[in-house]
Symmetry: C2
Subunit: 235 residues, 2 copies
């Protein structure tokens, strides 16, 4: 069944109404008809809808069933995402959205090579996040926050804050995750890693450094590995 | 310090000798000189070498120190890798090599879209695995095995054999990893997943299905998540 995100305003009790691009998608792209079913995602819930009327400008229907989206994790995970060269940050946006991250906070730090996030690129990230959330059966699209410097990132992210660092040899992810947290922030470094100064600064602000294992990982692999381990540790 | 893999025959006790492409790399690409140090990787060990003579056809040196490569995991992990469209299998080869996989066993199954592994593509995989192993400080390059069908793969992989399946809802990776194993094989499905028949066939042959969480993952994300969780469970 087709699934996509709509504004919460599209759902009014038991009835739904779509206009604009979403009505066009239902009528002209998906070519659905009255009686067909779709799943509309809004506000962390999925709504199974039977269509009543379909035109390219307006679609109406009835909510047959509504429930919390099955793919939405209980704990909100925010990821501090280093801006990387080429399409590497986008690969991460897609993968960590599938894995359940709820906020993506891009940053530049001392060793970042890429240092700006042009508006078209940000919009591409948002589109990738939305599509990945739909196919992963998430109930929410992760929010992509403004680009920040390292010091700003440390202020913006909630605690507990875990930072993956290749020179941390002792602290494993599963021991760094406190029991019964409602939210959690994690960070991986850019291509050349985080500097010692940046780690000191983070620790002063209460961050805990963790190891992702004995091997040197690229930022993309580190991000996916880190989120997988966190999701697993949270159960 | 530059690191690369050489044949074990290049290292003879305390002396080393490189010819051919590797001598050219040291002399012409890395532009090293007598007295410079390099790390040569062979047979799971890293050898810190002081160069004695350097020319484009022959490089000699002395082993100053030899030790087990720091990035080599204790447990051998084999990955059954679905052949995927485009460059997606290559992304996986790179990431799982960084994460410590020791054998990569490509396969096609009922829902595979790509069904052949042309020789140039296999050689590209081998090059990617070698480079990823060097930067990850591995002591071995994972072996890329011949392409197999699902039934052949089930015969070829050692046990315990864990298969990620999106309809497995109970078994978590950490509970599926036996204590004190010396080797382990894991498999993720292709783009459209594994079929019920394929899962039945695998279970008949002793495979255990595991869940990677409540969300639908693409094969690339699933492979990286699975290897991360396995490496973590193995300590």
């Amino acid at each position: 069944m087709d699934r996509f995100f709509v504004d919460t305003s599209a759902i009014r009790g038991e009835s739904i109404e779509l206009g604009g691009a979403q009505a066009r998608q239902v009528a002209s792209v998906l070519r659905l008809h009255p009686g067909d079913e779709i799943t509309l995602l809004a506000g962390g819930r999925e709504h199974i809808v039977t269509l009543a009327s379909v035109s390219a400008s307006r679609v109406t229907g009835t909510v047959r069933e509504a429930r919390a989206a099955s793919g939405e994790p209980r704990v909100a995970i925010a990821l501090g995402l280093p801006l990387l060269r080429g399409d590497h940050s986008e690969e991460i946006v897609e993968a960590v959205t599938q894995l359940g991250v709820s906020r993506i906070a891009p940053f530049v730090s001392a060793r970042s090579v890429a240092r700006v996030l042009p508006e078209p690129k940000r919009r591409r990230w948002e589109r990738i996040a939305r599509e990945a959330a739909e196919t992963a059966r998430r109930g929410r699209v992760p929010e992509i926050e403004p680009l920040r410097r390292w010091d700003e990132l440390l202020v913006a992210l909630r605690r507990p804050l875990l930072v993956a660092w290749e020179r941390e040899t002792v602290m494993r992810v599963r021991y760094a995750v406190p029991a019964n947290v409602a939210s959690l922030a994690i960070v991986v470094g850019p291509e050349g890693g985080l500097t010692e100064d940046e780690i000191v600064q983070a620790r002063k602000r209460g961050a805990v450094t963790v190891s992702l294992g004995a091997r040197n990982l690229r930022s993309e692999t580190a991000a996916v590995a880190f989120v997988s381990l966190i999701a697993d540790a949270l159960g």
